[in-house]
Symmetry: C2
Subunit: 105 residues, 2 copies
């Protein structure tokens, strides 16, 4: 069911981008470890087997960048673009991240 897979993907990217864009500007070591673990656990638990396998390979090749909000959000944007490329979707311009994601917090 491709529609369900796409809807799950959209929901997940939304959470992930909003999360990195609210991640601290200047994180503690503990916050850095939390973000890194979060992505690794998600890649194990993500409920689409094929996507999870690909995601795990991506994280190995491009480990999460956790040193700042900017580093984390640009890293995730690049990772999402790698997935876009594989799925023949257009590349997203990472300069527009802030306009696209509003968490309403």
């Amino acid at each position: 069911n491709e529609t369900a897979k796409a809807a799950l993907g959209r929901a997940t990217w939304k959470l992930l981008h909003t999360m990195t864009l609210r991640y601290p500007e200047d994180p503690s070591n503990d916050e850095r470890a939390a973000l890194n673990s979060y992505f690794h656990l998600l890649s194990r638990l993500y409920p689409c087997g094929e996507c999870a396998t690909e995601f795990q390979a991506l994280l190995k090749k491009f480990p999460p960048q956790t040193s700042s909000r900017r580093a984390a959000s640009l890293w995730l944007c690049a990772v999402h673009n790698t997935v876009n490329h594989r799925l023949h979707k257009p590349e997203f311009d990472c300069a527009h991240l802030d306009d696209e994601y509003d968490c309403g917090c």
Copy 2:
């Protein structure tokens, strides 16, 4: 911005429910630890400060149930209902979980 907060919440619940409904029927200790850590990390990183605080309190009161797919998905359904109650939203009938969430995996 309440609209953005609601959209983020909907996206997150979708990922979480789909995840617990694909969680193993008979998880290993390692898989149990992964799911437990995942929820705790999410409650720290969730990009809505008020929601994150409430979520952390909820996890303390109702620790993640990880012994099986059924236990995890019913636990999450109950937790979501607790949030629904606080926000004056209708209670969801947890018997309908399987019909509602399809991951397309």
